[in-house]
């Protein structure tokens, strides 16, 4: 990252030297030049790609199969309706996964021989659900749980599917949290204990705040991943955005609805990615200033 210092006259009467102004001017010129080169290069690449694709022999057919305005109009409202399911699942499962994952990670990092069964169980859980393919977990929960015919247990495929997502994703997220917890230097805990904090207090006020802050980027990564996987709940019959697209696509033999659904997801992921970048940058700045620890 380049640091730009403003050359303006400051209140303390600082006047930048001729040499400095020239240097700044030169730097700005280089920046402009770089931008121009990048823009030209992008335009040329874009134009050639465009000509290449539109010039290919099957282009007309591809265009009407993948980019039909008619089907895009037909698909959009239904895809958006499906997306509402994805978003609700993301919000509820996302929150549940964070809480459950953190609990698992704490359980796994508890010290002392008395906690051995807790540690063992948490380890077994993460090992199992991290290894189990999500789709199989979904099928087992969605069709297996109702097959038990238990009183008072829901058969709603969305709730069951959501539960399966939480089971799998909390195993991933627990490992991320654990990595964060273990990355906190033991001296931190030792210092906390020597100040008179109990083991639980040391965890809560010293270890976890540092651990969580360190793992925010990978956590957001898992969240983006979860966002896309919420669609897998459709295996149980619920109609999410991608599935709404598939229904139209296979009815009329046109792939445009998939493109619409894909773009909708990309549009959703981009803000999340920018948020991740922003959070990371903000934390880096703080760390660079020695603000934390």
């Amino acid at each position: 990252m380049t640091l730009h210092t403003a050359p303006a006259v400051h209140e303390d009467g600082y006047v930048p030297s001729e040499r400095r102004i020239a240097r700044e001017r030169y730097r700005r010129a280089r920046t402009r030049r770089a931008t121009a080169i990048a823009a030209t290069s992008t335009l040329v690449t874009g134009a050639v790609l465009f000509l290449l694709i539109t010039g290919s022999p099957g282009w007309t057919r591809t265009k009407e199969t993948f980019f039909s305005a008619h089907y895009a109009r037909v698909a959009f409202p239904q895809v958006m309706e499906g997306l509402w399911l994805n978003l609700r699942l993301l919000a509820v499962c996302g929150a549940a996964v964070l809480v459950f994952g953190l609990l698992l990670a704490v359980a796994r990092t508890l010290r002392g021989p008395v906690f051995f069964p807790v540690r063992a169980l948490a380890t077994a859980y993460t090992d199992f659900f991290r290894g189990l393919p999500l789709i199989i977990c979904l099928l087992m929960v969605v069709f297996g749980v109702p097959a038990l015919r238990l009183e008072g247990v829901t058969t709603d495929p969305v709730l069951l599917g959501g539960a399966a997502l939480v089971l799998t994703y909390s195993a991933y997220v627990a490992e991320v949290f654990r990595a964060g917890i273990e990355s906190v230097h033991p001296s931190q805990r030792a210092a906390a204990r020597s100040l008179g904090l109990s083991s639980g207090q040391a965890l809560r006020f010293v270890v976890l705040p540092q651990a969580v802050r360190r793992v925010v980027p990978p956590l957001l990564n898992d969240l983006v991943s979860l966002q896309k996987d919420t669609g897998l709940v459709s295996i149980a019959g619920a109609v999410d955005a991608v599935y709404a697209a598939q229904i139209i696509a296979s009815k009329d033999f046109n792939y445009t609805p998939y493109v619409v659904a894909g773009l909708v997801f990309v549009a959703l992921t981009i803000p999340m990615t920018r948020l991740t970048d922003w959070v990371t940058a903000r934390m880096d700045r703080r760390r660079a200033q020695g603000g934390i620890v």
């Binding site: 290069s41 459709s234 019959g237």
Partner: protein, 292 residues
């Protein structure tokens, strides 16, 4: 920012190199075109069609291949209605049993644009005007009716009219006309469940996640007869207005074989072969009450 250190030439070169690399791929796509154009002049001479593999006819279908359309998930055994129809059509075209090659074609890729790997695909695909924009169909080889299957214990089992199904949780497989019947004809108040495969729909029916599922009539009888005995066929839908719904063989939109294959299907209907095969493999599917 750091681009500033690189000369203009490098940036442009990389762009040009990328384009060149991509252009290098292009001719492959173009080579296919003349081949297919040449095939367009073929006639229907028995055993001499311009098929994908000369001397053989390649038939596509999805996997698993469901009964009663196929038997034991093995299209090449000649058992099951569609397997039998495929062999009959091939024979009519002048290809005997040994010359028929089966090929796994997922439903979704059967209508993908671009060159097809099969000569025709047989997979309970209903003919529709919309679909004809993407693929070519032969004449219909089977008039299909849609039917409702429900657990004997459920309220849906008592339905006698389409209106009785309005407040029922219905399910169907994606990409089927069964789903269209639900959305267009029944117009249920509860959103229908849509399944990737009939297997999942059957599971949901068994566990009570849906009250009833809609499938084509022969499948309905197969489900109640062999797979979910605690369910029954509630009834069938009357044919929607106009043309009856028909299954057709799927061909590439530009395929030169379409008229030949259609001719073969028509001939099989004329000489009673199709009716005989229907009687043999789908004989159950006769008298389900019609839901008014």
């Amino acid at each position: 920012m750091h681009l500033a250190n690189r000369p203009l030439v490098t940036a442009l070169c990389s762009a040009v190199a990328l384009c060149a690399a991509l252009t290098g791929c292009a001719p492959q796509a173009e080579e296919k075109a003349p081949d297919r154009a040449a095939g367009a002049t073929a006639s229907c001479a028995p055993g001499k069609l311009a098929t994908q593999v000369p001397g053989k006819v390649t038939v596509g279908t999805d996997k698993p291949a469901y009964a009663p359309w196929f038997s034991d998930d093995e299209p090449s055994n000649g058992k099951g209605f569609e397997s039998a129809v495929a062999y009959a059509v091939a024979k009519e075209l002048g290809y005997d049993r040994d010359a028929v090659v089966w090929q796994h074609t997922p439903f979704n890729s059967a209508f993908a644009p671009g060159a097809k790997k099969f000569d025709f695909d047989i997979n309970q695909v209903s003919i529709s005007e919309e679909r004809k924009k993407a693929v070519a169909f032969s004449s219909g080889y089977y008039d299909v009716r849609q039917a409702v299957v429900a657990l004997k214990s459920s309220k849906a089992a008592k339905a006698t009219r389409v209106a009785d199904l309005k407040d029922v949780k219905l399910g169907a497989q994606v990409g089927t006309t069964s789903l269209d019947f639900i959305t267009d004809l029944v117009e249920p108040e509860v959103k229908p469940a849509v399944y990737q495969r009939n297997d999942f729909a059957k599971s949901a029916l068994k566990t009570g996640q849906v009250d009833a599922i809609v499938v084509d009539l022969p499948t309905a009888f197969y489900i109640t007869g062999a797979e979910v005995p605690e369910a029954e066929v509630v009834g069938q839908f009357a044919a929607s207005s106009g043309d009856p719904e028909r299954f057709g063989l799927v061909l590439d939109r530009e395929s030169a074989l379409t008229s030949c294959v259609s001719g073969a299907v028509d001939a099989l209907r004329e000489d009673g072969t199709l009716a005989a095969l229907e009687k043999k493999w789908l004989s159950d599917a006769v008298d389900a009450p019609v839901l008014k």
